[in-house]
């Protein structure tokens, strides 16, 4: 009890300090940003002051044939208990993180549209109790486009959800069956329409390509249908056949075949062309949005910002308040994973206030590696601002002048610019080939400079 009290006090102190630095920040002219040590610290602290929140709802109505996520099929979900636990863990972790602002909440799963709107509301309320929402903050819920979900959209909106991500996946009845989805094409179309009414300009559609037997032509048609839906955001997933899934068994036994790599490439390239031609620009490898409709939540991951993971198996990255004090926030970032299995997770939350199962301290080097791997997937790339949150900008310059990076620049795959480094559209297509080289180079740089 004393501990919690102390933590609260320190959080309050921390917030005060952050506020002072924030004021300093805005009094500085942009031209002096780079050289200003104060600025860097200010940035670091403002960052520490804000986070996004991921909330995992682990239950599904049925098992999709391709899914290897952390999900559970349960007939008797203890809704009240889950709601209490999600709220409790949200509260504990928010306090532990010491943040004063949240700019996004994302309810993912599992199938979070199966959760009671009151549960979602309870979590949102808990957040509001502890911190302020950044202006224009995003509260997204993933929904399976079933009748049931359609009926609940308004309720979700009522408790604070302001963005819906609809798991359409396919617009082909056969494929939906093969994927083991519990909705039909008609339901999907109806759900998107309904969602557009409830959450105007805040609807995203999830779509999957590379499905068994899918042709590039069929995929193009499907994309046109999606474009006709006129949503502001589209996420594309390439179907990956994961071990342990029903689909893996089918593919393994030759029962079904997935398109080969070349066809997959054709599909992806076709999608980029079509979507961009219709105003949905690729702002990350798998994400397309009309201008201004980019998901704030996902961008936080890609920019190396803090995020708090709540719920069974959720992942988080943040600097706990205790470490912020210990060494001014440096090297204090931790990767956290919550207990996977819902019953155990609830038990632990009830007992300890949270169910963090694993904490790994993230070194500067690891943070840079993550930043590089994720940042380069985005249209903006790794910006100087995001880089300097981790380490001095001069390192990015020496990194960029290495022979390997220069070679990629010459080949038109990478671009080092005033604002940072990014992959060209050509580079983006083969990023997984480039990244190991860049990581290798980064490793060399860190070794030479003694950065651990």
């Amino acid at each position: 009890m004393v501990n919690t009290e102390l933590e609260r006090m320190s959080t309050a102190l921390h917030k005060m300090r952050a506020r002072v630095l924030l004021d300093n920040l805005f009094s500085l002219r942009p031209s002096r940003w780079k050289s200003s040590q104060v600025m860097k610290e200010a940035l670091r602290d403002t960052l520490d002051d804000e986070a996004t929140l991921y909330v995992h709802w682990p239950y599904c109505a049925r098992r999709c044939t391709y899914c290897n996520f952390n999900k559970y099929i349960s007939k008797s979900v203890e809704h009240t208990r889950m709601a209490d636990c999600l709220a409790k863990e949200t509260s504990t972790l928010l306090q532990l993180s010491g943040v004063s602002r949240v700019k996004s909440i994302f309810f993912g799963g599992g199938t979070p549209s199966l959760a009671l709107p009151s549960t979602v509301g309870k979590v949102i309320d808990t957040v509001a109790d502890h911190v302020t929402f950044t202006e224009g903050s995003e509260v997204t819920l993933e929904a399976n486009p079933t009748h049931l979900a359609i009926g609940k959209l308004k309720d979700f909106q009522h408790v604070g959800v302001n963005r819906l991500s609809v798991g359409v996946q396919a617009l082909n009845t056969e494929d939906l069956k093969l994927l083991g989805r519990d909705h039909s094409v008609t339901e999907a179309l109806r759900c998107v329409e309904a969602a557009k009414c409830v959450f105007p300009e805040h609807v995203s559609v999830d779509l999957m390509f590379g499905r068994p037997g899918q042709s590039v032509e069929a995929w193009r048609k499907e994309l046109h249908q999606v474009i006709d839906m006129d949503v502001n955001h589209v996420s594309l997933y390439q179907l990956t056949v994961e071990r342990g899934t029903q689909l893996f068994k089918w593919v393994d036994s030759g029962h079904v075949t997935v398109p080969d790599n070349d066809t997959m490439a054709d599909m992806y390239i076709a999608a980029v062309e079509l979507l961009e031609a219709h105003g949905l620009e690729r702002y990350e490898v798998s994400n397309f949005a009309k201008q201004g409709s980019e998901s704030k939540h996902n961008q936080a991951y890609w920019q190396g910002s803090q995020y708090i993971g709540v719920g069974p198996g959720a992942h988080g990255r943040f600097i706990p308040v205790t470490k912020q004090q210990a060494n001014n926030g440096q090297h204090g970032r931790e990767a956290r994973i919550q207990t996977l299995e819902p019953d155990n997770w609830m038990f632990e939350v009830e007992k300890f206030g949270h169910a963090t199962r694993k904490i790994i301290s993230q070194s500067t080097k690891v943070r840079l590696e993550e930043l590089l791997c994720l940042g380069l997937r985005t249209r903006e790339g790794v910006t100087n601002v995001n880089w300097s949150k981790v380490i001095d900008i001069s390192y990015l310059q020496s990194f960029g002048s290495s022979e390997r990076c220069q070679q990629f620049v010459e080949e038109g795959l990478l671009r080092f610019e005033q604002s940072g480094v990014r992959a060209t559209s050509k580079g983006l297509l083969i990023l997984d080939t480039i990244l190991p080289h860049l990581l290798y180079e980064l490793g060399q740089l860190c070794d030479n400079e003694g950065v651990t």
Binding site: D262, V285, S286, L439
Partner: protein, 665 residues
């Protein structure tokens, strides 16, 4: 005895592989004298020598040449040579009768495992025939033609041989090769059929084969079962009766032939010698003819069955000598030894063995380079026939190109590296040495002669200055049941052999002889032969000199960049096929990259084969969220680690394994 049993020395001596070195160390360190050991005071009965009577039992001066017989046993692999040797040693009391005696003379692990003899060993035995005691010296020989240099050396110290043939399997390819080695030296041959106790034994058929091939009369043939010990006495009698005594004279000045030598860590070189004339004693000052070095004899004796000091050897006898020869090169096989200041006519010596099979040997992990170097040095101390050249490859790092007498020799060497030195190595596909004739005074000067021997095809002089290529040939002998005639002729022809000469050995077995390029039988010839004949065919070969050949240099290129380590010298008729196979192998072993890779095999400017590796147009995971981050980053980091093991050819990343898969045999 119980107290003794638990003592460490006793345990040490329990080990049947005890060598004199152990005894020597004991003597030095513990003040235990050899005789004490041998007298059974600290010795167990399980060790054959532990018998007081035997020690006092002989005096070498009582064995003038006429009471000495020096002989070898020659046989195909598995025909029971080592078992027969065990029985001869047992029957004459050199070792005690025990089921544990298995191939006493085969001391290397690889020899025991494969049932082959690699290093010749000798053993002396005493046998009383018609009231007279004889000293019989068994000079062991390796069974395989790869080691026929060793066989020749062994035979040079003999006056006759036992030709041992399995009564079930009959005459095999190595039987033929070995017989002619003895026959060429005019050595009397005692034909012995072994394994006559087995159900499948066909002594009559085998005798017919012997008669047909070697003109051996059935009545000359002895029949034994080395396993059961039947007929062993008859063999001993035949040795005394049919093999002539060495021609030697104790009165003449000393003259010895050094026919083998091996290196021991503590005592330097130990040499096997045959005393041709005179007497040599401990303390004598001896001189080696070729090296012109003087040594003092520190220890001299007979192999009984390991080194047993006798302080003296007389004309006609065979034994070992230790004379402070620190370097194995001081104990060059083939040397003639005489007393200091009393030179005699030297023996012609031996032609050094010619390595015919070359392969690159590289440490599996480059940090193991020094350890591997030491291991190779140690092994070659006892095997001077291995040719060593330093080699380096951009892919495999620093290593060696080693020359071997044959494939089995290579195999045995690699196995010994592994077994005795725990060295893990990458062995490249073996190739043969080629000879090329070059023109141009300047070129000849640069390459040190008109004829250049090429051990590594990528070191071939520019094709433009080469006027003639020669490749080594072998005379191959295949013996197999007649029903496989078609397949055997086919495989020989496919391998560019001359149309095989065919002889019926009996109603059902045939012998095929053909001259083939050595290169063609290097890798899988024997395996294919075995499989097409259901395992019945045996194969052996002997050198048949170099022959002019239509060879071409095949280069492999990745996007136009030559890959040195893949360069091959191939016969024109086979170049296209092989080049195509290698290109295909490269295609499957090099991962797709972000640009097109063209693999080409070319002779000069002519492209023989081409394979493309299509580029991938997309290589990025279309999905990456919170939970995936750690997993994805980890995967990419592993790949980053892998970059260290990539070889870059131009811009193409070639994993080290890809080369190893292509280069290894």
């Amino acid at each position: 005895m119980n107290a003794i049993r638990s003592c460490p020395i006793h345990r040490l001596l329990q080990n049947r592989h005890i060598t004199n070195r152990c005894l020597h160390i004991l003597k030095k360190k513990r003040g235990i004298y050899l005789n004490d050991v041998l007298h059974g005071r600290v010795f167990s009965t399980s060790f054959a020598l532990a018998n007081k009577q035997k020690i006092a039992d002989f005096d070498l001066s009582e064995f003038p040449p006429e009471r000495i017989r020096n002989f070898s046993i020659i046989a195909h692999v598995d025909h029971g040579k080592s078992t027969l040797a065990d029985r001869l040693l047992e029957t004459t009391g050199v070792i005690s009768v025990s089921s544990k005696n298995q191939q006493v003379l085969d001391r290397l692990q690889v020899e025991k495992e494969r049932g082959i003899t690699v290093k010749a060993q000798t053993a002396s035995l005493f046998y009383t025939h018609q009231g007279t005691r004889y000293l019989l010296n068994l000079i062991d020989t390796p069974g395989h033609v790869d080691f026929n240099y060793e066989v020749s050396r062994s035979l040079s110290a003999c006056q006759g041989v036992i030709l041992l043939v399995d009564a079930n399997q009959g005459v095999q390819a190595q039987t033929v090769a070995n017989f002619f080695l003895a026959f060429d030296r005019d050595l009397p041959v005692i034909p012995v059929l072994n394994k006559i106790d087995l159900k499948g034994a066909q002594p009559d058929v085998v005798m017919q084969q012997l008669n047909k091939l070697f003109d051996i009369q059935p009545e000359e043939v002895l029949q034994v079962s080395a396993k059961l010990g039947t007929g062993i006495n008859e063999v001993l009698q035949a040795i005394v009766e049919r093999i002539p005594a060495p021609v030697a004279d104790v009165q003449n000045p000393l003259k010895c032939l050094m026919f083998d030598s091996w290196y021991t860590q503590y005592r330097g070189a130990v040499a096997s010698i045959a005393v041709l004339d005179g007497v040599v004693r401990k303390g004598d000052k001896i001189m080696t003819h070729h090296k012109k070095k003087v040594h003092e004899v520190q220890e001299i004796g007979i192999m009984y069955p390991t080194e047993y000091p006798t302080d003296v050897l007389y004309a006609g006898q065979v034994g070992y000598i230790i004379a402070n020869m620190k370097n194995i090169k001081d104990a060059m096989v083939g040397e003639t030894i005489y007393h200091q200041n009393q030179p005699t006519q030297p023996m012609p010596g031996f032609k050094p063995a010619k390595p015919m099979v070359f392969a690159g040997i590289f440490p599996a992990d480059s940090s193991q380079h020094t350890a591997l170097k030491t291991a190779i040095e140690k092994l070659t101390l006892n095997d001077s026939s291995v040719d060593i050249h330093v080699d380096s490859s951009a892919v495999l790092g620093q290593g060696w190109r080693l020359g071997f007498l044959g494939l089995l020799h290579m195999d045995v060497f690699i196995t010994r590296l592994d077994q005795e030195f725990n060295a893990s190595v990458i062995v490249t596909a073996p190739n043969v040495p080629y000879k090329v004739t070059i023109i141009g005074a300047k070129n000849i000067k640069q390459y040190g002669g008109e004829t250049v021997t090429i051990l590594n095809p990528c070191k071939l002089p520019p094709v433009g200055i080469i006027t003639e290529y020669k490749e080594p040939m072998v005379k191959g002998t295949v013996i197999a049941p007649a029903e496989y005639i078609g397949d055997i002729v086919n495989i020989i022809m496919e391998r560019r052999g001359t149309y095989p000469e065919q002889t019926y050995l009996d109603e059902s077995r045939m012998m095929f002889t053909s001259v083939l390029p050595l290169n063609e039988i290097l890798v899988d010839f024997f395996d294919e032969l075995k499989s097409l004949s259901s395992g019945y065919a045996s194969f052996d070969y002997e050198d048949a000199d170099f022959q002019t050949s239509d060879l071409v240099k095949v280069d492999y290129m990745l996007n136009g960049k030559e890959v040195d380590e893949l360069t091959m010298l191939l016969h024109k008729s086979r170049a296209r096929d092989i080049a195509k196979k290698v290109c295909e192998k490269l295609q499957t072993n090099i991962p797709r990259q972000s640009f097109l890779i063209t693999i080409q095999a070319a002779v000069g400017k002519t492209i023989l084969a081409r394979e493309d590796i299509k580029p991938f147009r997309k290589d990025v995971t279309a999905k990456c969220y919170g939970g995936d981050v750690s997993r994805k980053t980890k995967l990419l980091k592993q790949q980053a680690e892998g970059k260290k093991k990539m070889r870059l050819i131009g811009r193409i990343e070639v994993p080290r394994d890809a080369f190893i898969n292509i280069l290894k045999k």
